[in-house]
Assembly symmetry: C2
Homo-oligomer: 483 residues x 2
């Protein structure tokens, strides 16, 4: 039967993707600095191989044959996704895929160096090159707005117009809430525990939380990289990274975030190996999982209650005299800042909206790379009332553009919205979940996510999970938090 042959072809494809993931993970965490050129060539070659494998004649014929066979319900769904992927992949010429890959690798390294040295100029030509290549990419699509093509690559369920609408509503809601929180003051005037948080203890705490949330030690590892990320080397091999700073505890929330991604990947159904059903619904749903664990769980009062003794154990100087309420406020301290990944929940989506608006300007209205820092800084002034004093804390803070990931940022906020709806759903369907968190028991919560999301892969849509996506659930969730 064609399906078995298709599955076997896709299993091989998943092996090739494993190789690619490992090359990438290794480059970001382990590779000696002088090996960038060699690595770029290998990544590009492999990217070409991946592209060829998934667009070749053999696979095309298999799909065609399958389309004429009698399909069961799940198979019909699968075929639709397979055909969608095939048509999508076929839009890209091999040469473009390989060229883009090589440019991404070089740009990512240039970015890491530039960020370290606060050197915008050395990164600019790389960014220009990537924008040029991604513009070329949008021309392979028939979208009304070029930027929509790039969004589609990260979430095929939303257009930029729909996102714009959601973001506007959200922004208004957030600004109302911000004003309340500022007036109230309890979550603003929070004293940070000062002093050094030893990295060994931060790491131990991160590992502890990862295990508690349900990521098995035998199938994962935690490392350090310039920009935290999560990657699926293979179903049995989930890797997350974080970064440590002795002066703060950001590594904890960053780890919880990446653990959320890893739990999703680890829970995808193995019986559909290599097929879309062993893939996430979209990057937005992926992000809903990371934000769920990081915020809905990790910044809840119940989690503060559970984790406080562990904080006291690892950082006795800082937390000796702290009570649950104070820890909760510390975890939810709401002061606008410059760095997205360190942003309080209340302000986080404004960071995303800034990037979304800039990307839209670049691809739909011809905004030039060289003009980005100025616009960036102005928008930060406008939306968050803060202004970067250097490139590293401004335009150079994120690695996404260096990796060619334009259209990615909106999924962060879509993910937040989904996580808000999941919270409301969980309150109904799993009413004991807050008590569980208080006791440090996360098994039922993970089961809930596995049953409703992880085990379904791409056989479902966002709508199947949370209905029509809106901003109310999320704003209600936030409102509850700051009440």
């Amino acid at each position: 039967m064609s399906l078995e042959k298709i599955k076997s072809h896709l299993r091989e494809y998943s092996y090739l993707r494993s190789l690619h993931s490992l090359l990438y993970w290794d480059m970001e965490t382990m590779m000696p600095k002088g090996a960038v050129e060699d690595r770029a060539k290998r990544l590009s070659y492999l990217q070409g191989m991946l592209h060829t494998h998934i667009t070749n004649e053999k696979y095309k014929k298999l799909l065609k044959k399958f389309s004429k066979e009698k399909m069961k319900g799940m198979e019909k769904k699968l075929f639709k996704e397979l055909q969608y992927d095939f048509d999508l992949n076929n839009k890209f010429p091999l040469k473009h895929v390989m060229e883009l890959s090589e440019a991404q690798t070089h740009a990512t390294h240039a970015w890491a160096e530039a960020r370290k040295k606060n050197d915008w100029k050395s990164f600019l030509p790389h960014l220009e090159k990537l924008i040029e290549l991604k513009k070329r990419e949008t021309s392979f699509f028939d979208e009304k707005k070029p930027y929509d093509a790039l969004i589609k690559l990260h979430d095929k369920e939303f257009t930029s117009a729909e996102i714009s609408k959601l973001f506007l509503e959200l922004r208004d809601g957030l600004i109302l809430l911000r004003d309340k929180v500022e007036d109230d003051g309890r979550f603003v005037k929070v004293k940070d525990p000062k002093g050094v948080f030893p990295i060994a203890d931060q790491k131990a705490l991160s590992e502890f939380v990862a295990r508690k949330f349900g990521l098995p030690e035998a199938n994962s590892r935690l490392d350090i990289s310039t920009h935290p990320f999560s990657i699926n080397i293979s179903p049995q091999d989930q890797r997350i990274t974080t970064r440590y700073n002795e002066k703060d505890l950001d590594s904890l929330s960053s780890t919880m975030h990446e653990v959320g991604h890893a739990l999703y990947e680890h829970g995808l159904p193995r019986e559909w190996e290599g097929t879309p059903f062993q893939e996430a619904v979209s990057l937005s749903v992926h992000e809903s999982q990371s934000r769920f664990w990081e915020n809905v769980i990790g910044r809840s009062k119940e989690f503060s209650h559970y984790i406080l003794p562990h904080m006291k154990k690892h950082f006795p100087k800082h937390f000796k005299n702290m009570d649950v309420e104070t820890l909760y406020r510390y975890f939810n301290k709401s002061v606008p800042g410059l760095i997205r990944v360190e942003s309080p929940e209340l302000y986080y989506n404004l960071h995303v909206i800034i990037r979304f608006e800039i990307e839209e300007q670049i691809f739909n209205h011809g905004l030039k790379a060289k003009d980005l820092p100025e616009i960036w800084n102005e928008k930060y002034q406008d939306y968050l009332g803060v202004r970067p004093q250097n490139y590293a804390e401004g335009i150079l803070q994120d690695s996404h553009w260096a990796g060619g990931a334009f259209g990615y940022f909106p999924t962060y906020t879509l993910g937040n919205l989904i996580s808000g709806s999941l919270y409301q759903k969980m309150k109904k369907d799993l009413p004991g979940f807050k008590k569980d968190v208080k006791k440090g028991e996360f098994g039922e919560i993970l089961k809930f996510l596995q049953k409703n999301i992880h085990s379904k892969g791409r056989s479902i849509t966002t709508k199947d999970i949370v209905g029509n996506l809106g901003v109310k659930d999320y704003l209600d969730y936030l409102g509850e938090k700051f009440k």
Copy 2:
């Protein structure tokens, strides 16, 4: 021209090999334990891809076309090696290659577990399977003795008969020397510095020596694994591993050994990327490089002189009152032991000869896996006067057989012999080299090796480097050491 096309085909092959090396390195150093099955499948798939790439019709035709073209001198040489490799690779059916790869991965993990738990029985079925597969492999060759096929895979210049002859001569010479050294007693009654050698200091010293010998930080890294090894991820990316034990300083010599391998790989000529000219002459010559740095340099009196202050710095308690002569005797302490990789030079080759004799028995005379521990223990009693008290310090000490690397061990002793001849050559051609070592200057020595060996790749043979290989140079070198 066909040569350019051949080169391009082989460049791609080298990219695929990079992927394989990274999968392997990662598995041995980083991979979470629960990912073995996934990894085995990916390694096997990639091994199949490598085999297909290097034996396919396209490449066959290219070679044929090239064979009819007018070739320059170097090209003629290259063609000979290409044809040799092609014929060799074509002996192996794809199915066998993939089956062997999967068996190797599982066996290597079973071995690591078995060694930890001193559990021979759990490893035995894996070993039986591998012997069966390697026996099948010998049937693809037309060698008079099956074992010769396996030796050929590691060094095509020597037969088992030639090796036997060299090893017998060597053994007699070593036994004479051993009796002298024992009578003399200076290198036997050496007190080991007792106490804990902190691992952080061992690591720092290892890194320091690696840099001093000329392995650039930007192109290498040093990690930990169960069994120390060196691997070429790409020309710009050389990785070595060692293992640390707080009770001894074996990590130092083990690192110098692996650095020797890495310097060779790093020095292979890039202009011949992917071709045999960018490969080592043989594993024996490879081993000559590691043994050269580990022993000829690292265990010389001049190196003791140079490194003593650094030893004092890192391990003040142990070395505070030590003088150069005592350090030299400590580095060359000659007492027979059970573990090959920890063996003093004087006894090292006896360990190899034991394995060579056992392998010869397995493949030429039907010795069974289940009988190996007994024969192993008897031979250790006979040759070294020591008897393993458990499997971990006996038959389970080395990973080679688990990796299917039968025929590999003899190259260690061939490498020693070559390193002895290199020592004699260097005394003539680079008379100042001992003075350099004393000053901690290794640049001229590395240049000498680069010029004569590294930069030539497989365009030369062992004979080109040291003439007809014999045991005299090496025995003279050892004799000098213990005089």
